[in-house]
């Protein structure tokens, strides 16, 4: 199979999903009303609630949800062959992610722009809201640990990426100061900043940075993880305008440049896919494809994290209700397109099937490494730059995605710790520095604890929890779809378009969590704390399904009683 054909088929499926299926959902199910007064208009305060251009809002939603996960997940999942990953990404984007993101924005807009967490309490039950908050905390803890390890691995495999990746922070701070303090118009800092970002790659090539093999008993990977979390902790305490805002901005610009570059290179180079459609020689370490495929690729097919973005900031700025389709559905389609090109990079950018099989000799070996290795071959032959330069460029791109997610993730975790301190009246936890240390401590415990249990070099166990991270993410997606489904039942509309994805996603998450239980027990017995973490996830998943059943029975009875009252 030629990669160009796969790209064209995949992009066409995603486009058809947007053009026809989202239109059907918008008109018949969510029944969007152009005259509905959105919260951005009804509650306008020019701070949180501001009617915003839909293209800008789409760009914000897309760049906020697209990070390193739609690259790493497909990069791992192609171990079962390119076809299952391709089908899950395209069908998932069309019928799961699009409806989920679109629905999260719509549900929030119809409820004064409340977040999905609050809506869970209002629409389903207060118990379900508590479940939601626990799942969010676990998700943030895992995302930070996993991305910390992913960046550490990337720095070790591509030392030329170290200087360009850290230079992005300097570029971001410079842009922040120029725009916020010196009020320089945005165009030139953007152009110059982006050019510097790519020009510094040459410097990285000339001066590759490698840390010592051991410092105070800590291997290289562990040193990088400690540095990264120290940075993330400091970054989360800095003013938003100084780092987070400009870093997100240049990251967004880079996402568009990177996507254009990758798809352009695929079209020009037109490589053949060397990986098998369905891998007959899956390594023994790989778990069964069903249900693990559905959690290994979360972002890129469906991800609960998107609901937090959609109902957190996007819904407060939606100008017209009809924009929800463009912003929500097309935003998730953009992430599907990123996952699709990651599949192509991890399956077509290899000289032979033997070379591909050598990389995929163990479960978890692919991921970012496969994306960089394969993508570099495609980009270098398509655009005409050297393989090393292309590899550094793609590593920097992925590291910046993961790094920005870590910045935001640690900051959000700090808020949760501070809120917990406020609710349970523990003043020390309300202190920003203490809360940051607690948040970082949880993540480091996870990253280092896994290695200790498995007997791996310190800090290198983070990727082991990737399926558990996907499971938690899908559980969150299930909760969001549950809220949307209950709302639809209350409105007397068909709920199957959100209910079926909700049941499938939650069941896959539950099945994966159950499978992981046996794996964690086999790997470390009762002392493996991941076993207990996973057990909590299993219990949460069962509670979600029970809450769903209870909410639907209640709403159906209410609807039947209302109908009986009306006929009497």
């Amino acid at each position: 199979m030629n990669a160009t054909i796969l790209a064209v088929i995949g992009l066409s499926m995603i486009f058809i999903g947007y053009r026809f299926y989202s239109k059907f959902i918008a008109e018949k199910i969510y029944q969007l009303d152009p005259d509905f007064e959105t919260p951005s208009r009804a509650m306008r305060d020019d701070i949180d609630y501001v009617p915003t251009n839909r293209i800008v809002l789409w760009g914000h939603h897309f760049t906020a949800v697209a990070g390193a996960a739609p690259i790493i997940g497909p990069g791992i999942a192609v171990i079962w062959g390119w076809l299952p990953a391709f089908l899950w990404v395209t069908i998932g984007t069309m019928f799961f992610a699009g409806v989920h993101d679109f629905g999260a924005v719509w549900a929030s807009v119809r409820n004064k722009a409340k977040s999905v967490g609050t809506l869970t309490g209002d629409v389903v039950s207060p118990r379900a809201r508590n479940l939601f908050l626990i799942v969010v905390f676990f998700l943030l803890m895992m995302v930070n640990a996993v991305f910390g390890v992913a960046i550490s691995n990337a720095f070790q495999e591509t030392p030329s990426s170290v200087i360009p990746a850290w230079s992005a922070i300097v570029v971001a701070v410079a842009i922040g100061i120029l725009l916020y303090r010196m009020h320089v118009p945005i165009l030139w800092p953007t152009v110059v900043g982006t050019v510097i970002l790519y020009a510094v790659i040459y410097l990285g090539e000339a001066v590759p940075i490698s840390l010592p093999t051991e410092v105070m008993g800590l291997p290289t990977g562990a040193q990088w993880i400690l540095i990264l979390f120290a940075y993330a902790g400091i970054a989360s305490l800095l003013p938003v305008w100084l780092l987070l805002q400009p870093r997100d901005y240049i990251n967004g610009i880079q996402l568009f440049v990177g996507l254009g570059l990758l798809y352009g290179a695929v079209l020009i180079a037109s490589p053949d896919i060397v990986a098998p459609a369905i891998n007959p020689n899956v390594p023994a370490s790989a778990p069964p494809m069903v249900p693990l495929l559905f959690v290994t690729i979360a972002c890129g097919a469906i991800s609960g994290f998107h609901g937090l973005v959609g109902s957190g900031t996007t819904s407060k700025q939606l100008d017209k209700e009809t924009d929800a389709r463009f912003v929500g559905y097309l935003g998730s389609s953009g992430e599907g397109a990123l996952a699709l090109v990651a599949i192509i990079a991890a399956t077509a950018g290899f000289a032979s099937r033997a070379e591909w099989e050598a990389l995929y000799s163990e479960f978890g070996n692919g991921g970012l490494a496969a994306f960089v290795q394969g993508g570099a071959v495609i980009v270098s032959s398509g655009v005409g730059i050297s393989n090393e330069f292309a590899a550094t460029l793609l590593t920097v791109m992925a590291v910046l995605f993961a790094g920005t997610t870590m910045d935001a993730g640690v900051r959000l975790q700090r808020y949760i710790v501070q809120e917990a301190g406020s609710i349970y009246r523990i003043p020390v936890l309300q202190n920003g520095y203490v809360a940051t240390m607690v948040a970082v401590g949880f993540c480091l415990t996870l990253a280092f604890g896994v290695s200790a249990v498995l007997g791996l070099p310190a800090g290198e166990g983070g990727m082991y929890i990737w399926p558990l991270f996907g499971t938690t993410n899908q559980l969150l997606a299930g909760l969001t779809l549950l809220v949307i489904s209950v709302m639809l039942v209350k409105l007397g509309r068909p709920a199957r378009y959100t209910l079926v994805p909700m049941i499938l996603v939650t069941t896959a998450a539950l099945g994966s969590a159950l499978f992981e239980l046996s794996r964690y027990y086999a790997d470390g017995g009762l002392l493996n704390f991941l076993l207990w973490l996973d057990l909590i996830i299993v219990i949460l998943a069962i509670f979600v399904l029970l809450e769903a059943g209870s909410a639907f029975t209640r709403e159906r009875r209410a609807a039947a009683a209302a109908a009986a009252g009306a006929s009497a």
Partner: protein
């Protein structure tokens, strides 16, 4: 030429919106927090908190009285804490 200038202006507007949109609320809240601390400096002496800068902040009080009501509500005080100034 004019068409290109129009396009460039549109691009600038889009980029500015793209830059500001995700953090508009966070920045406004941070700015408000700074303003709240400044209000505390200005009115601290009147509330019995010694303020070495009171001599300099005294003349600012009339200018900030309009914002006083919202400020004390944000600090969790239902009614004005000042005996001499009852805004509510």
């Amino acid at each position: 030429m004019a068409r290109n200038a129009g396009r460039l202006a549109r691009l600038k507007t889009l980029l500015e919106e793209f830059y500001v949109t995700p953090y508009r609320g966070a920045l406004a809240r941070a700015r408000r927090d700074e303003d709240d601390i400044f209000m505390l400096f200005v009115f601290a002496e009147l509330m019995g908190v010694p303020n070495p800068a009171a001599y300099y902040t005294l003349e600012l009080q009339p200018l900030l009285l309009e914002r006083f009501h919202e400020w004390h509500r944000r600090q969790g005080l239902e009614h004005s804490p000042l005996d001499g100034f009852r805004c509510c």
